[in-house]
Every structure is written in C-alpha cells, then in structure tokens.
C-alpha cells in the first residue's frame, strides 16, 4: 500500500539529530568555513560517542550478525518489520546537512569508504576493515577513484596494481585527487582509503579493482589539501601511492574476481546506486535550511505565503517560494523512493540517478534563488545563506555529475549501453 507515514524510529532520530544540528553544527558553521582545514573535533568526538552507543551511522547499513539466542516470538510478532536502514540514513544525512553539510562530511564512521567495503567486500573483509569504527577513537575512511586525468570517465584511471607473487602483495602506484576525508582516514585516525586501480591497463573497466590501503602504510602519502568553494570543513585530499604494498586480501571481493571481467567495476557502480540518493539527501538538507531561513525572514517582515491562490494573484516572491517548495519536496520524494527500493532490495540504478539529477538541480536553484531574494542580506557573510549557496553546489558534482547521472537515466530509458550513448 502506498504510504507516507514517517516511521517512529525515524521521527525519533530526526528529533535527536536536530538537536545535534542546532547545538553542535550551526554555532560553529561560520568558524569552520573561515578556517579551512581546521578539524571540528568537538563534533567528531561527540558523534563518535553517540554512534558507538547507538550503532548508527555507516553510509551503508551494516548487516548485523544474527543473534542466535533470541527468543522465539509468537507468530504475529514474528512478522518482520519492513527494513528501513537506508531510509534512516537518508533522513540522518538530510538533517545533519541541514545543520552543516561540510561538518556532516567529517562524521566518523567511514562514509564512502565503508560503503565500498560494504558493497564489494567478503564477510571476512567487512569484519576486518569495518570493526575499527566501533573502537574508542573516531576513525575515518575514504574512497579514491578520481585522478587528475580521470573524473567522470572512471575507465580512464591509470593507477596500477601489480601482484608481487613472491610476497603475495599488491603493489599500487598512481595519484588520486579529491579524496573526501582522505587526510583524516590516513593521518588523523587508524582508518583506510579504498583505492581504485587497474590490474590490466589495457583491459579498461574489466581491469579495475578496489584495494583497501590502511593508515600507516608508508607507500601512501597525502600530498595536498584543496581549497574549495564550499564544504570547507571537509578535507579533500590528494594521495600519491609509490610502491604502496598491501596484502593480497586487501583487494575487495573474493579472489576469483581477479580473473573475472567487469565485476570490480560493477562493484563500484553498485556502491553508487546505494550512495547517490544519500548524497542527494545531503543537498536537500542544505536547500531546506536555505528555504526555511528565507521564509522566516519574510515572515518577520509580515510577508506570509498565500498557498491556494491562482498563480496570477501571487506576488513574485510567493511564486518563487511555492515553486521552490514543489522542487524541494518532489526531489526529496525521489530520494525516499530510491532508498526505499534499496531497503527492499529492488534494483534501483535508474531511481538512484534520477534522485541525484533532481537534487543536483533543485538544491543549486533553491540556494541561488534564496540568495537573490534575500538581496544584500543574502550576499552577506553575516548570515549562513551565502555559505549554503556555496555548499549546495557540490551536490551536482560529486558521486557523478548531473550530466553523468542524466546519461545513466537516459541509458535506462532507451535500454542503451555505454557505447550506444556516450
């Protein structure tokens, strides 16, 4: 049955996270925007403590080990509650990003790196690499695909992995850029970076594999931290690998995939199906913050929005705001559907990309319009609005640009392969 009732656990989570956003994020937003590369440890430590206590927080929901001892419940109670882990995450990310998306991005627990392990790793690998997030100190993970010459076109990556048969180790070489949380993963915690590299440069996608490079590996060096338009609390690192040795089983997936063709690449894509709607959700949080501030500012001046009037009777401002609400709510519902599908194990690449396309469009438009309508107030750094404008833009760029996600949607529409529609 079609339903839009927010499940209780989500409502409770929202309530708690709103307090976190109000008290731990908003008050320091401006500071961390103006002090790029400073690390918001208070927030990090708090979140780490809180997530350890509740078990929440990975970007990919963890499968919990089955508890054998659980008592048998009577039939009716046994009826499984519908799974909502991805929905919980989408709401969590939206609310935290409503607080501050740059700070949200430094939430410990692994982000995209864990999501990759979760999507492609064997049970042993998940155990080995993900257990660390529950330990005492906050730990970070990152995902490194992009290279200077290869962004959208991931098949153009040049980083290589060669097997040293004597030691049974992989030797990685190459340069990765724009690695979110790369610095924190390797230098500020005992974390790891999931690095994509090719085991056969001539094989294109078929040669691509992902490798877990752990903190402390002398072969991996953080060489640069970017200075950015927005999300400045989040570190964006360059990582150079020079004869970086990792054990054989640091390659994600079962050993057979060493020989089997495009499974590695498909692993990356499966990760994106799961994470795109979540990234879209972060953008929605920023745009919602902007729209709320705009509406509050207008209300303080006695301007309320007269919903229900024909467009011809609305003022321009009312019309703009109503259009923004339409965009924002409908974009959010696309995300909700995509994560609901993920929760119910329905194949969702098209929905994931649609949600990202729309969110990318909507959050940039809403934040840009909000700054325009707020006039000199919007442009001033006295308010956070101008920052949200800068923060929102990244939504349309990472995890597949708006164009790349349009391509994916269009290929689905026409049933085209990548070579039929480039």
């Amino acid at each position: 049955m079609i339903e839009f009732e927010m499940p209780k656990p989500i409502a409770q989570q929202n309530y708690v996270l709103k307090t976190v956003a109000d008290n731990m994020m908003r008050p320091v937003s401006r500071h961390f925007d103006e002090h790029e590369h400073e690390i918001p440890w208070d927030y990090i430590n708090f979140m780490h403590m809180a997530m350890r206590a509740t078990g929440a927080g990975s970007l990919a929901p963890r499968e919990r080990p089955k508890d054998e001892k659980k008592e048998e419940k009577p039939d009716e109670e046994k009826k499984k509650r519908p799974p909502i882990a991805y929905q919980m995450l989408a709401f969590m990310l939206e609310t935290l990003s409503w607080g501050d998306v740059g700070i949200y991005l430094v939430t410990p627990g692994g982000g995209l790196g864990s999501a990759a392990v979760e999507a492609a790793g064997t049970p042993e690998q998940k155990q080995k690499f993900l257990a660390r997030f529950a330990e005492e100190k906050p730990t970070f993970a990152a995902m490194a695909m992009t290279e200077p010459q290869a962004g959208s076109d991931t098949s153009a990556i040049r980083a290589t992995a060669v097997l040293d048969k004597e030691t049974n180790e992989w030797i990685l070489n190459g340069e990765k850029i724009f690695v979110t949380a790369g610095h924190k993963a390797l230098l500020e915690s005992q974390g790891f970076v999931v690095v994509w590299a090719t085991i056969d440069p001539k094989a294109g996608r078929a040669g691509m594999r992902s490798f877990v490079v752990e903190a402390g590996n002398p072969g991996a060096t953080v060489t640069k931290l970017e200075h950015k338009l927005g999300i400045r609390a989040s570190d964006t690192a360059s990582i150079v690998m020079q004869d970086c040795r990792v054990p054989f089983d640091a390659m994600l997936g079962s050993p057979e995939i060493v020989t089997k063709s495009t499974k590695g690449f498909k692993g990356a894509m499966a990760t994106f199906d799961a994470t795109r709607p979540l990234v879209a959700a972060t953008g929605i949080g920023v745009a919602r913050a902007s729209l709320e501030l705009l509406i509050e500012t207008l209300a303080a001046q006695g301007i309320t929005i007269r919903y229900g009037l024909p467009r011809q009777k609305l003022t321009n401002i009312e019309r703009e705001i109503i259009d923004m609400e339409v965009m924002l709510r409908s974009a959010w519902l696309l995300i909700l559907k995509a994560v609901w599908m993920a929760d119910n194990r329905k194949h969702n690449p098209m929905e994931a990309s649609m949600s990202k396309v729309r969110a990318g469009d909507v959050v940039t438009k809403v934040t840009q319009k909000a700054v325009e309508i707020m006039g000199p107030l919007g442009y001033s750094r006295d308010l956070l609005l101008e920052k949200w404008f800068r923060d929102a833009k990244i939504t349309d760029i990472y995890e597949g640009t708006g164009q790349i996600n349009r391509l994916i949607v269009a290929r689905n529409i026409f049933d085209y392969s990548g070579s039929e529609l480039r």
């Binding site: 079609i2 909502i84 259009d323 339409v326 559907k337 929905e351 729309r358 391509l407 949607v409 529409i413």
Partner: protein, 364 residues
C-alpha cells in the same frame, strides 16, 4: 511507514484501466478530437471499469470506499490514454464526489444511487468563470438567500456536457465562501449560451452557461442548510487534475522515447544525441517527481493530514509546469513531424497547456 507499492487491488484496477487506455481511449483520441466528439460507447466502456462506483459505499449504491490515492492512480492511467476521454469518463464524479464529500444524507440518498447504479450518465459541475485570474475561492457567481431558497446569478464557462447533463452542481459565492448548489436539468433561468471552442480537449464538449436568477430550493444547497467546507472538494479536484497531468505527460514521454529510438539522424538514432537523451532524462525525472508529490498529497488527504490542502496545491502547481515542459519537449523531439496532427504529441501539448486552467474539470 513509507511505501511506494500500490495495493494488489489498486494494481488490478490500474492494469485494467491501462489496457483500456491503450486499446480504446488512445486509439480513438485523434478522431474524437477532430470530430469534436467522443463516441459514447467508448465512454461507457471506460465507466464500466467501475472506478467511481468503487469509491461510493454500498449504502449509496456503490461497492467500496473513496480513496484519493486510488483516485490519483486511476486518473493518471485514464489520462495516459486521453485527457478528454478521461475527463468524460469521470464526469459523473464532478457531481457525485462533492455530494459524497460534503452532501447531507438526504442528498447522498437521492443522488448517488441513480448515478452509480446506471450506465454512464452525464452529471456535471460548473466552477470556472471567464477571468484571467479566476480564483475558485472568489467567485463572481453569487447565491442570494430569499424566502424560498437561493437565487443564483452569474455566468460559468467550461461546463462539460452542460447541454446533456441531468443536473449541474453550480458553485457560487455565498457569504464570502464558495458553496455548491444542485441545479436539475431544465430549471428555469439556466441558459446554455453556447458550446465553446478551445485550444485542446475538443472531444470534451464545454459550454458557457448563464444563471439568470435561478431559484434553488433550500434543500439543494450542498450539505443542506448548514452548507459545507469547500476545501476538500478543491483538494480532490487538484489531485485529479495533477494526476491526469502525470498520465498525459507519461504518454508524451513514451511516444517521444519510442520515436527517438527509431529515427535516424547523421548516422545515429535521435536518441543517441546527448542533447535529446538529456531532455528525456529530465522529462522522466520530472514526471516521477510530480507523480510522487501527487501520491503523497493524496495520501495526506486520505489520512486527514493537516497540510493536505497545501500539498495538493503544490502538486498541481508542479503538475502544471511538468505538463507543459514534457509535452513541449515531446513535440520538439519529433521535430517537424511533431507539429503534424497525425502524431499525437501536438494534441498532448495543447492539452498540456490546459492543465493550468482546467481546475474544476475533474475530481477524484
């Protein structure tokens, strides 16, 4: 809980309507538009799918409960076939649904059974007036109380099937609010001025109707002596229209998709050109986004949520823009062929523009 999965019953209904939309409605839409007339057997067949009948309780001749969610699913699927046909099939609802929502018991008992137990019979309503900024909450048609009942004065346009209708639900301003008044056929003072010619939906007969001091007995005020709240009727009208916009847009999208995949340009298919492919990706995203907004609004209406009216308003606002965006692009993707009336996309574009002015022509 969130769920985007219609119930089994809803799926069955949608499937049945979908078959009818493709094999009947869509096939005859072009001719009906050119003829300015829908074949009545076609409409009767659509009526027999039983959507309205299933939303009226047994006590009043039907066999179910009204659900706005089911309503938007059905309306979308009908309009996927043809907008004029969809509105004609749901026409009796323009009269019956407001009575179900806001009528008193006597009105429900008097009017609902004969409508739902019969074959398709034209019953209609009159809301729209000739003003650029027409506002359903600020009508120029007025009702004045007198000793015997109410006197209706004013002029309505776009009254579907006014000539043929057994009764019209006329909306008029009374004490500052919009109120419905039941006016049977041949009531004195009701003047059918003319059949109107409009840009699209020409298969749906629309009339200009004058109400020259039409006397309406007291018991014919919708809701009886106390009258009624207009908001639920407006919500249901917005939802129906928004859902039809989604169905219409889906039809245009699919037609353009299939065409683009067949047509060769510069040695490749039109669909292989990114500029076209991206347009299509945006169209499908827009349609799905507005569909979900419409679903949510309908669900809110069904569950008496506080913001239901606002959400229904937002859904229709989005739907207006979606319909224009998608249908315009569908014509563009067919190029010159899109401009030719042999292809349906130009009709869909004309109908798509109509969504912004058709509030009151359907209800779910």
């Amino acid at each position: 809980m969130y769920s985007f999965e219609p119930s089994e019953e809803q799926k069955m209904l949608v499937d049945a309507i979908n078959r009818y939309a493709i094999t009947d409605l869509r096939k005859q839409a072009h001719q009906a538009e050119e003829d300015n007339q829908l074949p009545i057997p076609l409409v009767e067949k659509g009526w027999e799918l039983g959507f309205l009948q299933a939303s009226i309780p047994e006590a009043f001749g039907g066999f179910g409960e009204r659900s706005a969610v089911t309503g938007v699913l059905a309306a979308e699927e009908l309009a996927y076939g043809d907008l004029a046909g969809a509105m004609a099939i749901l026409l009796p609802g323009l009269f019956a649904t407001p009575i179900l929502l806001a009528g008193d018991d006597a009105q429900k008992e008097t009017y609902l059974p004969p409508i739902v137990e019969a074959e398709w019979t034209p019953y209609t309503s009159a809301l729209i007036e000739a003003q650029f900024d027409f506002d359903p909450n600020k009508l120029n048609t007025v009702a004045e109380k007198n000793g015997k009942g109410y006197l209706l004065k004013g002029e309505k346009i776009y009254v579907p099937f006014a000539e043929e209708a057994h009764a019209v639900l006329v909306y008029a301003q009374y004490g500052g609010d919009t109120q419905g008044f039941i006016v049977p056929k041949d009531t004195e003072g009701v003047e059918i001025v003319e059949r109107q010619k409009v840009m699209g939906v020409n298969a749906l007969p629309l009339y200009k109707v004058k109400f020259n001091d039409v006397l309406v007995p007291r018991e014919n005020r919708l809701g009886g002596e106390a009258g009624h709240d207009f908001a639920p009727i407006l919500d249901a009208s917005r939802l129906g229209l928004a859902a039809m916009a989604v169905g219409l847009s889906r039809a245009a999208f699919e037609y353009a998709r299939d065409y683009a995949k067949e047509r060769d340009v510069f040695g490749v298919k039109v669909a292989q050109k990114q500029t076209i492919a991206f347009m299509m990706a945006e169209m499908v995203t827009e349609i799905e986004a507005i569909r979900l907004l419409t679903w949510e609004a309908a669900w809110m209406v069904d569950n008496n949520k506080e913001d239901a009216s606002k959400e229904a308003y937002l859904a229709l606002t989005g739907a207006m823009d979606m319909a224009m965006m998608v249908t315009d692009r569908a014509v563009q993707i067919l190029g010159g062929h899109g401009y030719i009336r042999e292809h349906p996309v130009e009709l869909w574009m004309r109908n798509g523009r109509g969504i912004a002015t058709m509030l009151g022509l359907t209800i779910v």
